[in-house]
Protein backbone atom coordinates (compact mmCIF):
# COMPACT_ATOMS: atom_id res chain seq x y z
CA UNK A 1 0.00 0.00 0.00
CA UNK A 2 1.63 3.19 -1.14
CA UNK A 3 1.15 6.04 1.28
CA UNK A 4 0.04 8.53 2.27
CA UNK A 5 -3.03 6.33 2.45
CA UNK A 6 -5.89 8.82 2.70
CA UNK A 7 -4.65 11.26 0.00
CA UNK A 8 -3.98 8.23 -2.24
CA UNK A 9 -7.53 7.02 -1.69
CA UNK A 10 -6.48 3.71 -0.10
CA UNK A 11 -8.47 4.52 3.04
CA UNK A 12 -11.76 6.33 2.50
CA UNK A 13 -12.07 9.84 3.92
CA UNK A 14 -14.88 8.70 6.20
CA UNK A 15 -12.30 6.93 8.38
CA UNK A 16 -10.47 10.19 8.92
CA UNK A 17 -11.96 11.04 12.30
CA UNK A 18 -11.58 7.56 13.76
CA UNK A 19 -7.94 7.55 12.71
CA UNK A 20 -7.51 11.04 14.17
CA UNK A 21 -8.85 9.81 17.49
CA UNK A 22 -6.55 6.76 17.57
CA UNK A 23 -3.41 8.64 16.53
CA UNK A 24 -4.27 11.37 19.03
CA UNK A 25 -4.48 8.73 21.76
CA UNK A 26 -1.03 7.47 20.85
CA UNK A 27 0.23 11.05 20.88
CA UNK A 28 -1.34 11.86 24.25
CA UNK A 29 -0.24 8.60 25.85
CA UNK A 30 3.42 8.98 24.88
CA UNK A 31 3.49 12.64 25.91
CA UNK A 32 2.00 11.89 29.32
CA UNK A 33 4.06 8.75 29.91
CA UNK A 34 7.22 10.74 29.09
CA UNK A 35 6.35 13.32 31.74
CA UNK A 36 4.97 16.14 29.62
CA UNK A 37 1.94 16.62 31.84
CA UNK A 38 4.19 18.35 34.38
CA UNK A 39 5.24 21.94 33.71
CA UNK A 40 8.10 21.69 36.19
CA UNK A 41 9.49 18.64 34.41
CA UNK A 42 9.15 20.39 31.04
CA UNK A 43 10.89 23.52 32.32
CA UNK A 44 13.86 21.39 33.39
CA UNK A 45 15.06 21.60 29.81
CA UNK A 46 15.46 25.36 30.11
CA UNK A 47 17.26 25.27 33.46
CA UNK A 48 19.32 22.14 32.90
CA UNK A 49 17.92 19.92 35.68
CA UNK A 50 15.89 17.61 33.42
CA UNK A 51 16.31 17.46 29.65
CA UNK A 52 13.38 15.15 29.00
CA UNK A 53 11.81 17.56 26.48
CA UNK A 54 14.98 17.80 24.45
CA UNK A 55 15.44 14.02 24.42
CA UNK A 56 11.87 13.14 23.52
CA UNK A 57 11.41 15.95 21.01
CA UNK A 58 14.55 15.35 19.00
CA UNK A 59 14.29 11.55 19.14
CA UNK A 60 10.73 11.82 17.84
CA UNK A 61 11.64 14.26 15.06
CA UNK A 62 14.56 12.13 13.92
CA UNK A 63 12.56 8.88 14.09
CA UNK A 64 9.71 10.26 11.99
CA UNK A 65 12.17 11.87 9.57
CA UNK A 66 14.04 8.59 9.03
CA UNK A 67 10.75 6.76 8.48
CA UNK A 68 9.59 9.29 5.90
CA UNK A 69 12.90 9.35 3.99
CA UNK A 70 13.14 5.55 4.05
CA UNK A 71 9.56 4.92 2.92
CA UNK A 72 9.95 7.51 0.17
CA UNK A 73 13.21 5.94 -0.99
CA UNK A 74 11.67 2.46 -1.06
CA UNK A 75 8.69 3.74 -2.98
CA UNK A 76 6.26 2.90 -0.16
CA UNK A 77 5.16 6.48 0.27
CA UNK A 78 5.14 9.49 -2.02
CA UNK A 79 6.66 12.13 0.25
CA UNK A 80 5.91 14.85 -2.30
CA UNK A 81 2.24 14.50 -1.32
CA UNK A 82 2.91 15.32 2.33
CA UNK A 83 1.60 18.63 3.61
CA UNK A 84 4.33 21.21 4.12
CA UNK A 85 3.46 24.20 6.27
CA UNK A 86 4.18 27.31 4.17
CA UNK A 87 7.14 29.31 5.32
CA UNK A 88 6.28 32.94 5.96
CA UNK A 89 9.59 34.12 7.32
CA UNK A 90 8.64 37.07 9.53
CA UNK A 91 5.46 35.51 10.84
CA UNK A 92 7.19 32.22 11.71
CA UNK A 93 9.99 33.93 13.64
CA UNK A 94 7.75 36.40 15.48
CA UNK A 95 5.21 33.69 16.26
CA UNK A 96 8.01 31.46 17.54
CA UNK A 97 9.30 34.20 19.85
CA UNK A 98 5.83 34.92 21.24
CA UNK A 99 5.40 31.18 21.85
CA UNK A 100 8.82 31.08 23.55
CA UNK A 101 7.62 33.79 25.94
CA UNK A 102 4.39 31.89 26.54
CA UNK A 103 6.41 28.75 27.19
CA UNK A 104 8.65 30.45 29.78
CA UNK A 105 5.63 31.88 31.62
CA UNK A 106 3.19 29.02 31.24
CA UNK A 107 5.51 26.01 31.32
CA UNK A 108 3.46 24.18 28.71
CA UNK A 109 2.86 24.15 25.00
CA UNK A 110 -0.65 23.40 23.69
CA UNK A 111 -0.22 19.62 23.29
CA UNK A 112 1.41 19.16 26.69
CA UNK A 113 -1.17 21.37 28.41
CA UNK A 114 -3.92 19.07 27.11
CA UNK A 115 -2.07 16.14 28.74
CA UNK A 116 -1.93 18.12 31.95
CA UNK A 117 -5.67 18.77 31.71
CA UNK A 118 -6.28 15.04 31.17
CA UNK A 119 -4.68 14.15 34.53
CA UNK A 120 -6.18 17.03 36.51
CA UNK A 121 -3.53 19.78 36.53
CA UNK A 122 -5.40 23.00 37.25
CA UNK A 123 -2.51 25.13 35.97
CA UNK A 124 -2.74 23.26 32.64
CA UNK A 125 -6.48 24.02 32.53
CA UNK A 126 -5.76 27.73 32.90
CA UNK A 127 -3.06 27.52 30.23
CA UNK A 128 -5.44 25.73 27.86
CA UNK A 129 -8.12 28.32 28.56
CA UNK A 130 -5.55 30.99 27.77
CA UNK A 131 -4.96 29.40 24.37
CA UNK A 132 -8.58 30.00 23.39
CA UNK A 133 -8.41 33.61 24.55
CA UNK A 134 -5.13 34.11 22.67
CA UNK A 135 -6.47 32.68 19.42
CA UNK A 136 -9.61 34.79 19.80
CA UNK A 137 -7.56 37.95 20.42
CA UNK A 138 -5.36 37.24 17.41
CA UNK A 139 -8.38 36.64 15.19
CA UNK A 140 -10.14 39.82 16.31
CA UNK A 141 -7.00 41.90 15.87
CA UNK A 142 -6.10 40.22 12.58
CA UNK A 143 -6.39 43.40 10.46
CA UNK A 144 -3.49 44.81 12.50
CA UNK A 145 -1.31 41.78 11.82
CA UNK A 146 -2.47 40.91 8.32
CA UNK A 147 0.46 42.49 6.52
CA UNK A 148 3.03 40.82 8.74
CA UNK A 149 1.15 37.50 8.67
CA UNK A 150 1.33 37.37 4.88
CA UNK A 151 4.78 38.84 4.28
CA UNK A 152 7.84 37.01 2.90
CA UNK A 153 6.08 33.86 1.74
CA UNK A 154 8.63 31.23 0.76
CA UNK A 155 5.98 28.57 0.18
CA UNK A 156 6.92 24.99 0.95
CA UNK A 157 10.62 25.76 1.25
CA UNK A 158 12.79 22.93 2.53
CA UNK A 159 15.64 23.61 4.92
CA UNK A 160 18.16 21.52 2.96
CA UNK A 161 17.36 23.38 -0.28
CA UNK A 162 17.89 26.68 1.49
CA UNK A 163 21.26 25.47 2.71
CA UNK A 164 22.12 23.99 -0.68
CA UNK A 165 22.48 20.48 0.73
CA UNK A 166 21.12 17.13 -0.28
CA UNK A 167 18.21 15.98 1.85
CA UNK A 168 20.07 12.94 3.14
CA UNK A 169 23.17 14.94 4.04
CA UNK A 170 21.11 17.36 6.10
CA UNK A 171 19.23 14.46 7.72
CA UNK A 172 22.52 12.83 8.68
CA UNK A 173 23.86 16.08 10.16
CA UNK A 174 20.63 16.51 12.12
CA UNK A 175 21.02 13.04 13.63
CA UNK A 176 24.64 13.80 14.57
CA UNK A 177 23.53 17.10 16.11
CA UNK A 178 20.77 15.34 18.08
CA UNK A 179 23.16 12.71 19.47
CA UNK A 180 25.62 15.49 20.33
CA UNK A 181 22.88 17.33 22.22
CA UNK A 182 21.95 14.16 24.12
CA UNK A 183 25.54 13.80 25.35
CA UNK A 184 25.64 17.51 26.15
CA UNK A 185 22.39 17.17 28.10
CA UNK A 186 23.81 14.31 30.21
CA UNK A 187 26.87 16.41 30.99
CA UNK A 188 24.86 19.51 31.96
CA UNK A 189 22.45 17.51 34.14
CA UNK A 190 25.37 16.23 36.20
CA UNK A 191 26.63 19.78 36.78
CA UNK A 192 23.32 21.39 37.65
CA UNK A 193 21.84 21.27 41.12
CA UNK A 194 18.86 18.93 41.25
CA UNK A 195 15.47 20.53 41.60
CA UNK A 196 12.85 18.60 43.52
CA UNK A 197 9.45 18.61 41.93
Amino acid sequence: MVGPLIPMGVIPESWNNVIALLLGMGFGFTLEASGFSSSRKIMGTFFGYDFVVLRVFFTAAVTAMIGIIYFDYMGWMDASLLYINPYYVMSAVIGGIIMGLGFALGGFCPGTSFCGVAIGKIDAMLFSGGLFIGVFLFSEMYPLFEKLYNSHNEGSAMIYDMLGMRQTVFAFLLIVAAVGMFYGADWVEKKVKKVEY
Binding site: G24, S39, G96, A104, G106, C115, S128, G130, Y160
Partner: protein, 175 residues
Protein backbone atom coordinates in the same frame (compact mmCIF):
# COMPACT_ATOMS: atom_id res chain seq x y z
CA UNK B 1 9.82 -7.79 35.30
CA UNK B 2 9.96 -4.88 37.68
CA UNK B 3 6.75 -4.14 39.43
CA UNK B 4 4.96 -1.20 37.89
CA UNK B 5 5.10 1.79 40.19
CA UNK B 6 1.75 3.49 40.50
CA UNK B 7 2.69 6.33 42.79
CA UNK B 8 3.03 8.75 39.88
CA UNK B 9 6.82 8.82 39.93
CA UNK B 10 7.38 6.50 36.99
CA UNK B 11 8.06 7.87 33.54
CA UNK B 12 9.08 5.86 30.52
CA UNK B 13 12.64 6.22 29.25
CA UNK B 14 12.79 9.50 27.26
CA UNK B 15 14.42 7.87 24.23
CA UNK B 16 11.75 5.17 24.21
CA UNK B 17 9.15 7.93 24.54
CA UNK B 18 10.81 9.76 21.66
CA UNK B 19 10.81 6.70 19.40
CA UNK B 20 7.15 5.97 20.22
CA UNK B 21 6.17 9.58 19.59
CA UNK B 22 8.20 9.52 16.36
CA UNK B 23 6.36 6.38 15.24
CA UNK B 24 2.99 7.99 16.00
CA UNK B 25 4.06 11.04 14.00
CA UNK B 26 5.34 8.89 11.15
CA UNK B 27 2.12 6.86 11.13
CA UNK B 28 0.15 10.12 10.99
CA UNK B 29 2.09 11.22 7.90
CA UNK B 30 1.85 7.78 6.32
CA UNK B 31 -1.90 7.52 6.81
CA UNK B 32 -3.14 11.09 6.46
CA UNK B 33 -0.38 12.94 4.62
CA UNK B 34 -0.28 15.53 7.41
CA UNK B 35 1.47 15.84 10.75
CA UNK B 36 0.19 16.05 14.30
CA UNK B 37 -1.08 19.25 15.84
CA UNK B 38 -2.69 20.85 18.86
CA UNK B 39 -3.31 24.58 18.45
CA UNK B 40 -5.29 23.96 15.26
CA UNK B 41 -8.03 22.33 17.32
CA UNK B 42 -8.25 25.45 19.48
CA UNK B 43 -8.49 27.58 16.36
CA UNK B 44 -11.29 25.41 14.94
CA UNK B 45 -13.19 25.66 18.19
CA UNK B 46 -12.82 29.44 18.35
CA UNK B 47 -13.89 29.78 14.70
CA UNK B 48 -16.95 27.59 15.31
CA UNK B 49 -17.89 29.43 18.49
CA UNK B 50 -17.59 32.86 16.89
CA UNK B 51 -19.49 31.66 13.84
CA UNK B 52 -22.29 30.35 16.05
CA UNK B 53 -22.58 33.57 18.07
CA UNK B 54 -21.98 36.10 15.32
CA UNK B 55 -22.11 34.51 11.86
CA UNK B 56 -21.98 37.79 9.94
CA UNK B 57 -18.95 38.90 11.91
CA UNK B 58 -17.17 35.61 11.22
CA UNK B 59 -17.84 35.83 7.49
CA UNK B 60 -16.63 39.43 7.32
CA UNK B 61 -13.48 38.81 9.31
CA UNK B 62 -10.36 38.33 7.25
CA UNK B 63 -9.20 35.56 9.58
CA UNK B 64 -12.25 33.46 10.53
CA UNK B 65 -13.51 33.46 6.97
CA UNK B 66 -10.36 31.61 5.85
CA UNK B 67 -11.49 28.60 7.86
CA UNK B 68 -15.22 28.66 7.15
CA UNK B 69 -16.46 26.56 4.28
CA UNK B 70 -20.06 26.29 3.14
CA UNK B 71 -20.63 22.58 3.50
CA UNK B 72 -18.63 21.57 6.54
CA UNK B 73 -18.45 22.86 10.07
CA UNK B 74 -14.90 23.80 11.09
CA UNK B 75 -15.37 21.58 14.17
CA UNK B 76 -15.21 18.48 11.97
CA UNK B 77 -11.59 19.39 11.52
CA UNK B 78 -9.17 16.47 11.83
CA UNK B 79 -7.28 18.10 14.67
CA UNK B 80 -10.33 18.38 16.91
CA UNK B 81 -10.71 14.60 16.92
CA UNK B 82 -6.98 14.20 17.32
CA UNK B 83 -6.99 16.42 20.42
CA UNK B 84 -9.91 14.49 21.92
CA UNK B 85 -7.63 11.48 21.43
CA UNK B 86 -4.77 13.33 23.15
CA UNK B 87 -6.98 13.91 26.19
CA UNK B 88 -8.02 10.25 26.23
CA UNK B 89 -4.45 9.00 25.75
CA UNK B 90 -3.10 11.30 28.45
CA UNK B 91 -5.86 10.15 30.79
CA UNK B 92 -5.02 6.48 30.12
CA UNK B 93 -1.34 7.03 30.83
CA UNK B 94 -2.16 9.04 33.94
CA UNK B 95 -4.42 6.23 35.15
CA UNK B 96 -1.85 3.55 34.43
CA UNK B 97 0.96 5.35 36.27
CA UNK B 98 -1.15 6.77 39.08
CA UNK B 99 -0.97 10.45 38.25
CA UNK B 100 -4.64 11.40 38.27
CA UNK B 101 -4.95 14.18 40.79
CA UNK B 102 -6.60 17.56 40.81
CA UNK B 103 -3.83 19.98 41.74
CA UNK B 104 -1.93 23.15 40.94
CA UNK B 105 1.71 22.35 40.31
CA UNK B 106 4.06 25.19 41.14
CA UNK B 107 7.50 26.02 42.45
CA UNK B 108 7.51 26.31 46.27
CA UNK B 109 8.86 29.85 45.79
CA UNK B 110 5.65 31.14 44.23
CA UNK B 111 2.03 30.89 45.31
CA UNK B 112 -0.53 28.71 43.57
CA UNK B 113 -2.48 31.84 42.69
CA UNK B 114 0.54 33.36 40.97
CA UNK B 115 1.18 30.11 39.09
CA UNK B 116 -2.38 30.12 37.77
CA UNK B 117 -2.12 33.75 36.67
CA UNK B 118 1.10 33.20 34.71
CA UNK B 119 -0.22 29.91 33.27
CA UNK B 120 -3.22 31.79 31.88
CA UNK B 121 -1.00 34.54 30.49
CA UNK B 122 1.41 31.98 29.02
CA UNK B 123 -1.48 30.19 27.34
CA UNK B 124 -2.77 33.44 25.84
CA UNK B 125 0.65 34.27 24.43
CA UNK B 126 1.08 30.74 23.10
CA UNK B 127 -2.34 31.03 21.44
CA UNK B 128 -1.38 34.30 19.75
CA UNK B 129 2.08 33.06 18.71
CA UNK B 130 0.71 29.85 17.26
CA UNK B 131 -1.50 31.81 14.88
CA UNK B 132 1.42 33.88 13.62
CA UNK B 133 3.53 30.76 13.09
CA UNK B 134 0.62 28.77 11.58
CA UNK B 135 1.08 26.06 14.19
CA UNK B 136 2.57 25.36 17.60
CA UNK B 137 5.29 23.10 18.95
CA UNK B 138 3.44 20.07 17.56
CA UNK B 139 2.02 21.25 14.26
CA UNK B 140 4.70 23.70 13.16
CA UNK B 141 7.90 22.67 14.94
CA UNK B 142 7.78 18.88 15.45
CA UNK B 143 5.76 17.93 12.38
CA UNK B 144 7.73 20.42 10.28
CA UNK B 145 11.04 19.00 11.45
CA UNK B 146 10.01 15.48 10.45
CA UNK B 147 9.64 16.61 6.83
CA UNK B 148 12.64 18.99 7.10
CA UNK B 149 10.62 22.03 6.09
CA UNK B 150 12.17 25.45 6.55
CA UNK B 151 9.13 26.64 8.50
CA UNK B 152 9.46 23.70 10.93
CA UNK B 153 13.14 24.16 11.68
CA UNK B 154 12.94 27.97 11.92
CA UNK B 155 9.84 27.91 14.15
CA UNK B 156 11.46 25.26 16.38
CA UNK B 157 14.60 27.38 16.77
CA UNK B 158 12.56 30.53 17.45
CA UNK B 159 10.44 28.80 20.12
CA UNK B 160 13.25 27.04 21.97
CA UNK B 161 15.83 29.79 21.49
CA UNK B 162 13.57 32.50 22.87
CA UNK B 163 12.22 30.17 25.58
CA UNK B 164 15.78 29.78 26.91
CA UNK B 165 16.16 33.55 27.08
CA UNK B 166 12.73 34.22 28.60
CA UNK B 167 13.06 31.33 31.08
CA UNK B 168 16.21 32.89 32.40
CA UNK B 169 14.49 36.27 32.72
CA UNK B 170 11.53 34.67 34.53
CA UNK B 171 13.56 32.05 36.41
CA UNK B 172 12.05 33.12 39.75
CA UNK B 173 8.81 31.52 38.61
CA UNK B 174 10.47 28.12 38.34
CA UNK B 175 13.67 27.70 40.37
Amino acid sequence: MEKLKRDGSFYINPYLGGVLLGLVLFATYYVTGRGLGASGAVKSTVVTAVHAVAPAHAHHSGYYSKFLSEDESPMSNWLVFEVIGVLAGGFLSGTLYGRLKLKVEHSPKISGRKRLAVALLGGMLFGIGSQFARGCTSGAALSGMAVLSASGIITMMAIFGSAYLFSWIFRKLWI
